[in-house]
């Protein structure tokens, strides 16, 4: 009985997740086409809503081509790893108060570990394909993910300092008086940009730069292998949007509308970030590789380390980090002015 109940819960998480990944791809194509003043998919289903399911079915019935020079076992394993890692992170995401599958006390650490493992799927696929495009794409992608993961780690430490817990529900509940995106505004912006780089999205989609590497690490994949990579990547985007919501935007909490259902608030906020991901894709040109690495190592990393020291010092001196955000507002302006001066000096 106990196992039956838990297996039902797993299905309740995974099935809506996969459906939302499918609808996310349709939403991306629809929003992109609207920005570029075209129609987008509109034939299958109402407004093209069933397009993603048709694509998925087609990918399922196509032939899986194994390149003769590839390492067969690893070649098949790689998309499985990516897909599997994007799903298991959802076990610790609380969508509402007391509605979480596993209320792990080290939830943030678990998510950090899962996102670190994400590099393996890409490295394995690039090496196993034995194709130059795939290999170069995998190298680039791995270096990029690894670089931005460090700044993500330091940014999350700020949040842990303010909430004093590694449990995701406790982090959300400690944002009752104010969402962390206000006192930690610079860290919030850095976190979102790092997430774009971590999920290999525009404007940091160097591994998939079509003009240089065709499609990056998944050039050789067809049929279900490609579909699993695709599902994994988009699942990761939804996962990381929801992590942003939990850490900075107060999860299921919503001020003034306390009658609103918590999970509804959570999904609205998550959707906002997903839409932001798509919007950024349409609006920004791609970075050059050296610019990308410079941004990660020379700007984000020192800035996030110094902000950790700053937050810790403020916390040990003042009674309430949260209520002195007026002081921070002035500090932001100072930092902003410094940045402007520095950037004017550089260019």
């Amino acid at each position: 009985m106990f196992y039956f109940e838990n297996i039902l819960k797993v299905l309740v998480i995974i099935v809506p997740l996969l459906v939302s990944v499918a609808l996310f791809t349709v939403a991306e194509r629809k929003i992109l086409s609207s920005i570029q003043r075209r129609r987008g998919p509109n034939v299958i289903g109402i407004f093209g809503l069933l397009q993603a399911f048709a694509d998925g079915l087609k990918l399922l019935v196509k032939e899986t081509i194994l390149p003769s020079s590839a390492n067969k076992a690893l070649f098949i394993l790689a998309p499985l790893v990516t897909f599997f890692l994007s799903l298991i992170g959802w076990a610790v995401i609380p969508v509402n108060e007391a509605s979480v599958f596993s209320d792990l006390n080290v939830g943030i650490l678990y998510l950090f570990a899962i996102s670190s493992l994400g590099v393996y799927g890409i490295i394995i696929s690039g090496w196993a394909s034995n194709s130059k495009y795939a290999f170069l794409g995998a190298l680039r992608s791995a270096a990029q993910m690894v670089s931005y993961e460090i700044s993500i780690g330091f940014i999350i430490i700020n949040v842990i300092l303010c909430s004093g817990s590694l449990n995701l529900s406790a982090v959300v509940l400690s944002q009752k008086s104010i969402w962390f995106c206000i006192p930690l505004l610079p860290m919030f912006i850095l976190f979102f940009v790092s997430c774009l780089a971590e999920t290999n999205r525009h404007p940091f989609d160097l591994p998939e730069a079509e003009a240089e590497l065709v499609s990056g690490y998944n050039v050789e994949y067809s049929a279900i292998g490609f579909a699993l990579f695709f599902l994994g990547e988009y699942g990761n985007i939804i996962l990381i949007s929801s992590i942003t919501v939990l850490l900075f935007i107060g999860g299921w909490l919503f001020p003034f509308f306390s009658t609103l259902s918590g999970s509804l608030c959570f999904s609205i906020k998550t959707f906002f970030f997903i839409a932001l991901f798509i919007w950024v894709r349409a609006a920004f040109p791609r970075y050059r590789y050296d610019q990308l690495m410079r941004l990660g190592w020379k700007v984000f990393l020192p800035f996030s380390i110094s902000w950790v020291i700053f937050t810790a010092s403020i916390l040990s001196c003042f009674n309430w980090y949260i209520l002195c955000f007026w002081i921070f507002l002035i500090l932001y302006l100072l930092v902003l002015i410094c940045f402007l001066l520095v950037s004017l000096g550089f260019y």
Binding site: W90, S102, N105, C162, S165
Partner: protein, 130 residues
């Protein structure tokens, strides 16, 4: 310290999730193998390189910068993981107390070593990608 039974039981859902994710992924691959056509050919199996015949294997030496990035990543990632338990405890300490000041000074020394490592790498040109 021995983990409490309630704490251990919160890991059970994670194992179930891992099982379900693996089942779904492997099931899809097997299903695709059963349904999909299988028409292998000599030219079909060649690695895609924009129509060229692949000259050599792609498993050759590559730029050393990627290796450097991996090493620096190891250093910083381990430091981040060291900071996690500190941050979770420090957030609960009483502000303005001697204890909190001591904890702050300790971690400031630790971060100082990080900064020294960073500056060393910076001077050595580890972060230069042009």
């Amino acid at each position: 310290m021995i983990l409490a039974a309630t704490e251990l039981s919160s890991y059970l859902p994670i194992f179930l999730m891992i099982g379900a994710a693996l089942t779904f992924g492997i099931g899809n691959v097997v299903l695709s193998q059963l349904i999909g056509p299988k028409r292998a050919g000599a030219t079909k199996g060649i690695a895609y390189e924009s129509g060229m015949n692949p000259i050599t294997s792609s498993r050759k030496r590559f730029n050393v910068r990627f290796y450097l990035i991996a090493m620096v990543f190891l250093v910083f990632d381990v430091e981040v993981v060291f900071l996690y338990p500190w941050a979770a405890t420090f957030g609960n300490l009483e502000p303005m107390s001697n204890e909190s000041l001591l904890w702050l000074l300790r971690i400031l020394f630790f971060l100082l070593t990080t900064v020294v490592a960073y500056l060393y790498g910076f001077r050595k040109g580890v972060f230069r990608f042009d």
